[in-house]
């Protein structure tokens, strides 16, 4: 296991500790790591510092409230927190609703398969590495898109988007969905 695998595992444990025991100690660990990242993300997306601070706190509070929805076999903690932060950004900065497909949540006490969790974590780690290894120009393009600086039309006109990096991630997600549906 790499250091990042261990980290990812730790974040998932922390979220489980919030879900199961309302652990403020586990929350503090997550807060220390993720709140400054969420704040940085929101500021890169156009929020001023005051708004970013406020929203980052709200994002972390949402993490607490929705701890039950986190499924470590479907998303890394960072990915899940990204989706919460993005939704907060749409709400606070763009003042719009965010229609979403319903969560696929299975039986409430059903624990995810540990093999799936491990595979997901490894895949997330590979994706992070692959993005870090991209030529600057391509990485900058992805950042621009995810910080909300590119419209759909602009994304569609980009031919240099390195979509190959997510191909195996798609395959993994599909396999898992099929597995969960049976």
């Amino acid at each position: 296991m790499t250091e990042r695998d261990i980290e990812n595992h730790e974040w998932a444990e922390c979220i489980a500790a919030i879900r199961d025991r309302q652990s403020t100690a586990a929350f503090a660990v997550l807060f220390e790591h993720f709140a400054p990242r969420v704040k940085g993300f929101l500021m890169r997306s156009g929020a001023d510092e005051g708004l970013a601070e406020e929203c980052a706190q709200e994002v972390m509070a949402t993490l607490w409230r929705k701890a039950h929805q986190f499924d470590p076999s479907r998303a890394s903690a960072a990915t899940w927190i990204f989706t919460i932060a993005r939704n907060r950004r749409i709400d606070a900065i763009r003042k719009q609703r965010r229609p979403e497909p319903e969560e696929l949540s299975w039986g409430p006490e059903q624990e995810p398969d540990q093999e799936d969790v491990l595979a997901l974590q490894q895949e997330s780690e590979q994706l992070t590495k692959a993005i870090a290894a991209l030529p600057d120009k391509q990485r900058a393009l992805i950042e621009k898109a995810y910080f909300g600086d590119l419209s759909h039309r602009e994304i569609a006109e980009q031919t240099g988007l390195p979509l190959g990096t997510i191909k195996s991630r798609i395959r993994l997600a599909l396999e898992r969905l099929r597995h969960e549906m049976t």
């Binding site: 309302q22 403020t24 929350f27 807060f31 400054p36 704040k39 940085g40 890169r44 970013a52 601070e53 980052a56 706190q57 709200e58 509070a61 607490w64 409230r65 929705k66 701890a67 039950h68 929805q69 998303a75 890394s76 990915t79 899940w80 990204f82 932060a85 993005r86 950004r89 763009r94 003042k95 719009q96 609703r97 965010r98 229609p99 497909p101 319903e102 969560e103 696929l104 949540s105 409430p108 895949e123 997330s124 994706l127 992070t128 993005i131 870090a132 898109a145 995810y146 590119l150 759909h152 994304i155 569609a156 979509l163 997510i166 991630r169 997600a173 599909l174 898992r176 969905l177 549906m181």
Partner: protein, 215 residues
């Protein structure tokens, strides 16, 4: 039904939806397709994980003094929320349920002529989302687009010069496209359509329809 979907979201639409930069009407259409399509749900999860990777690599900005304490106070020791059970399935996918406040029976249809009915949904005004009800065999007037139009089939099917679209299929049309969708015979067709610019109908009857369509 799920395996029969032939027409899917583009990578650009999925990335823009994942990044959160689509107008609300398009987000609603994308979310509704994903609720009906496992393949695009899996693709979306992959696009979201790109966002996760960026959260890990973004330059951090220190939180204010006492921010952890303030956040814990905001939470107030609340229990975490149990996820709600999955919505019971009607014809409409769950994101649409939320906008209509019910299923098909609750849609507030307005006639627009030739048996066609529509219901405009409340979204931000950069783009418009509407439900269209097209009787079996009836054509929607020929129209071009100034921008993009997404059409998601919810029930029945339609055909145009290019292809056949059944339940769950999404058509992505741009301003270069002039087409005449016709509802397939046998079953009335219900679609969700999102446009980012007014449709331009061509010809006299369509011009009358256009004023009815409020576009």
């Amino acid at each position: 039904m799920k395996d029969k979907i032939q027409h899917h979201l583009s990578d650009a639409l999925l990335m823009a939806y994942s990044a959160g930069s689509l107008p609300e009407a398009f987000s609603l259409t994308v979310a509704s397709h994903i609720a009906m399509c496992d393949e695009c749900r899996a693709r979306l999860e992959a696009f979201d994980s790109v966002g996760g990777a960026l959260i890990e690599s973004v330059e951090t900005v220190a939180m204010g003094n006492g921010s952890l304490k303030a956040t814990l106070a905001m939470i107030g020791g609340a229990m975490t929320e149990r996820p709600k059970a999955r919505a019971v399935t009607g014809v409409l996918p769950s994101p649409l349920h939320d906008y209509i406040g019910g299923d098909l029976d609750d849609v507030n249809w307005r006639p627009v002529g030739m048996g066609v009915k529509q219901a405009i949904l409340p979204t931000s005004d950069e783009a418009t989302a509407r439900l269209l009800y097209i009787p079996a065999g009836v054509a929607v007037p020929d129209h071009g687009h100034q921008g993009m139009e997404l059409t998601l089939v919810l029930q029945g099917a339609f055909m145009d010069e290019n292809a056949h679209f059944g339940p769950g299929d999404i058509e992505i049309a741009d301003e270069h496209m002039h087409h005449t969708p016709v509802a397939a015979p046998g079953m009335d067709c219900i679609c969700l359509a999102a446009t980012d610019a007014p449709l331009r109908f061509r010809g006299l009857v369509p011009r009358i329809a256009q004023s009815f369509l409020n576009i």
